[in-house]
Symmetry: C2
Subunit: 205 residues, 2 copies
DNA sequence: CATATTTTTGACCAATTGGTTAAACCATTT
DNA sequence: AAATGGTTTAACCAATTGGTCAAAAATATG
């Protein structure tokens, strides 16, 4: 593969990423992607045989990228509380740089859940729980966080950072009405989210 | 408007609701809707001139319905804690009966934020805050919930109930891997969500 | 019953879509 | 410089799409 090959293939991939994340699989036109990449439409088919293959390439990279952002928090040797703070700072910052990813992924996964299977198959969920127990077992015990509660807690933690981006269109409209800036809201959310979760977990009321 | 009119128009509307919520505006075909309604495709255009008008009719009804589900909690004369419990029981139950609404709305709003404007314009957000202050002012003060914190808290409360439905495709796949039933998870979530939020709000740590 | 009006249908259309193909282009090698 | 190989393009195609239209069927009106 020559240098110009890689350039063209990358140009196509980047253009496809932009168009697909903005318009979705159904809404995106091959011609749009070709225009965005500044090339002929036939070249798309030369490098990626069909629209579906091109989409899958984009989808898989984005999905893998998204999930990988959850991982580092399990590696760092921090207290449970610091892990949560670390997660929200990093994760919301990542989403600020890629604000359209949540809506794109959620929509396409609901449209075709099958696509996610191969990515999830590569994840070892139990391992994450084991790592967490090894590093923060005492805290988990102290706060009475059992294995059964993990799905509720984890989905709640994810919801708090991801949902504002998925529902950005709604929130932005609502906020504008009461004079609140969405970007300011996001900045504040990094700390608010961590405080909120930590208080909920630690509280024994 | 005769009786059979209403039947046909309603049949079309219901069919359109089903097809649009499942496939989205771009993915839905007028022929699909006609088939679903058991009528000729031309009839769609007879009652709703264009695909876009038909979609708008469906979208507006769903959006209004969705937002209206947030309102009752402000009317009931309950303590803040009971309001939160009431909300999650009612809201998650509503979403269990209409599981595809969140993903549909979030996607279409992000695809075309303009569509939401006219619905949001009809909402008086300040009124909700005033009602809340009038009914639960003392509790808000006690828990140090100020006007500036409201957006963070409200979006968090919504995220916790809506996100699992928006991300259903992801969660269901993940849960299956560790042997958890999604419907059971949802049932448990009504109480978990309320407990979680109440603990976070009440905690003074 | 005959007429007028509304509802429903099937045939049709122009535009768009993803995809194909053969030829042109370009860099390398011989 | 001629041949070779991969790369890029323009022209084209079959299928699908939202939408139209005139006629038929059903219903209401006199």
């Amino acid at each position: 593969m020559s240098d110009s090959d890689k350039q063209t293939e990358e140009k196509i991939f980047d253009a496809a990423t932009e168009v697909f994340t903005e318009k979705g699989l159904d809404g995106a036109r091959m011609q749009d992607i070709a225009d965005q990449a500044g090339i002929n439409k036939s070249l798309l088919h030369y490098y990626y045989r069909t629209k579906d293959r091109l989409f899958n390439a984009v989808f898989e990279k984005i999905a893998a990228n998204m999930f990988s952002k959850f991982a580092p928090v399990f590696d760092e040797n921090l207290s449970l509380e610091d892990k949560i703070r670390f997660f929200y700072r990093e994760h919301i910052s990542f989403l600020q740089r890629n604000p359209r990813l949540p809506a794109f992924l959620l929509n396409e996964i609901n449209r075709n859940p099958e696509r996610l299977r191969k990515i999830i198959a590569t994840l070892d969920i139990e391992k994450f729980w084991d790592m967490l127990c090894a590093q923060n077992g005492k805290e988990l015990e102290e706060y009475n966080i059992t294995r059964e509660k993990i799905p509720q807690i984890m989905t709640t933690i994810a919801a708090i950072s991801v949902f504002p981006f998925a529902a950005r269109g709604i929130f932005e409209s609502l906020f504008k009405k009461i004079g609140i800036d969405f970007d300011t809201y996001l900045e504040e959310r990094k700390e608010f989210a961590a405080d909120f979760v930590i208080k909920a977990i630690k509280s024994k009321v």
